[in-house]
């Protein structure tokens, strides 16, 4: 395992974040753009904690990856509504523009792109979010050639940020409903190989099942397992 990046401050504190924009891009996702006064700069791949507090003192917190570049005046999150999700359901159904939530971040120094190393992202479903942050940062820095993105979704409607990713030149695979650009189905090693060829680091983000599949694909493409950084998510509300 390579040494971790030392980007980002070592200590973060709870702060207040205000919802400035909220929309529901699909029936299962909510996008929030939030203001945190005096926040620290972040690197793409990092996440924030969002904590909710009930009148009886009960709290619930979850971590959510950032979609935004650090130069964006707001922090952007794209949250998938989990079945019976305590926090995601609140964010989708109850939270409104102007509400203040407890926030802590940026967190994470492992699943981060250093903005210099040639990288490939294999991301699925709402796992695209950290790749979107990497895309936005790469564009701002004029280093789009360093970053390759392969994104999977069931169909165009189920892949967040699909238009933005396509504009960036990402390879998109739909596994259930096609947009006609390629046959329906997961990406093949032959499709992936050109994206992986020059990569020195790979980022996998998605469900546990997706991550396992993506790890196997990268191994088939000959990428050293030590170059692979994985962020899995499961049913964590």
């Amino acid at each position: 395992m390579p040494d971790a990046s030392t980007d980002g401050p070592g200590v973060s504190r709870w702060a207040e974040g205000r919802i400035i924009e909220k929309d529901l891009p699909s029936p299962t996702t909510v996008r929030l753009r939030m203001h945190v006064e005096g926040r620290s700069r972040h690197v793409p791949g990092q996440h924030y904690l969002i904590r909710l507090r009930a009148p009886d003192g009960y709290t619930a917190q979850r971590s959510y990856s950032l979609a935004s570049d650090t130069d964006d005046p707001l922090l952007e999150f794209l949250v998938e509504r989990q079945p019976d999700g305590e926090v995601s359901g609140f964010l989708a159904d109850v939270a409104e523009v102007g509400d203040v939530l407890e926030m802590r971040g940026p967190i994470g120094r492992w699943f981060t792109w250093d903005r210099h190393t040639p990288a490939v992202c294999l991301v699925g479903g709402t796992g695209v979010v950290p790749a979107v942050a990497m895309v936005r940062t790469a564009r701002r820095l004029g280093r789009a050639e360093l970053l390759r993105v392969a994104a999977w979704g069931r169909g165009p409607a189920e892949l967040p940020y699909v238009d933005e990713l396509q504009r960036f030149g990402a390879s998109i695979a739909f596994t259930r409903t096609s947009d006609g650009s390629r046959p329906v189905g997961p990406m093949t090693p032959a499709e992936l190989a050109p994206l992986v060829r020059d990569a020195e680091i790979a980022f996998i983000c998605g469900s546990a099942r997706f991550a396992e599949h993506a790890e196997g694909l990268l191994a088939e493409c000959g990428l050293d397992q030590g170059s692979v950084r994985v962020e899995r998510f499961g049913p964590t509300g």
Binding site: M1, A4, G8, G10, V11, S12, R13, W14, E16, R51, L52, R53, A54, P55, D56, Y58, T59, A60, Q61, R62, S63, E86, F90, V94, A95, D99, V100, L101, E102, R104, I107, G108, R109, W110, F111, I204, A208, E212, E215, L218, A219, Q225, G226, V228, R229, V230, E231, R232, F233, G234, P235, T236, G237
Partner: protein, 202 residues
């Protein structure tokens, strides 16, 4: 901090005294969280070593480990990502057994657990002694699944679960504390869930 507008406790309070602050009961699910690719490992080729500041460094094969006196844990586990899983059953060998066999030297005060993936995590010896830590290969009576650290993982259930290194292959005894993987990456050095020691500065 102020109350969040419109947010109320929904989950039952029955498990409240068993849930550390900020945790929720994940029920029957067991989320998979690891930072690296899941290794494909052959247990027959597995070795587990105890070395560093010990009088008798030793290495055990898979079959050596199976022959050691067994020990089980039944209770709860707590992940820093806020899920807790209640009433789990793990079985393997108590770390006390390895301490007795290897005899840490007087100046040894910390242990660094190494995984075959290169993952590491650090613990004071006090946190792996006294019946509080195990090397386990069985979960609920079945072989530990690969994605959960099988064939062999460390189990330190009184600390956040990143301390329970998956695919553990070595315990290295040290005089000085040496931060492990997540500890270098912003997580708390000790990780007591009841004190909510999630991140540096907590």
């Amino acid at each position: 901090m102020p109350v969040t507008r419109g947010f109320h406790r929904r989950r039952p309070e029955t498990a409240k005294d068993r849930l550390p602050p900020g945790q929720y009961d994940t029920g029957d699910s067991w989320p998979v969280l690891s930072a690296e690719a899941t290794p494909r490992l052959d247990e027959e080729a597995w070795t587990f070593s105890v070395d560093g500041l010990v009088d008798s460094p030793q290495t055990w094969t898979w079959s050596d480990l199976q022959a050691l006196p067994g020990s089980a844990y039944e209770g709860d586990i707590h992940c820093v990502t806020t899920w807790s899983k209640l009433d789990v059953r793990f079985a393997g060998v108590s770390v006390d057994h390895f301490l007795a066999e290897a005899s840490p030297q007087p100046e040894a005060r910390f242990v660094l657990a190494h995984s075959v993936t290169g993952y590491t995590t650090n613990l004071p010896i006090a946190d792996v002694a006294g019946g509080r830590a195990w090397v386990v290969w069985s979960f609920d009576g079945r072989p530990l699944p690969r994605q959960h650290g099988g064939p062999l993982r460390l189990l330190v259930p009184h600390l956040y679960f990143w301390k329970s290194a998956k695919w553990v292959s070595r315990l290295e005894f040290l005089a000085e504390d040496r931060p492990g993987f997540w500890e270098q990456n912003g997580y708390h050095d000790r990780g007591d869930p009841w004190l909510e020691q999630r991140y540096q500065g907590d």
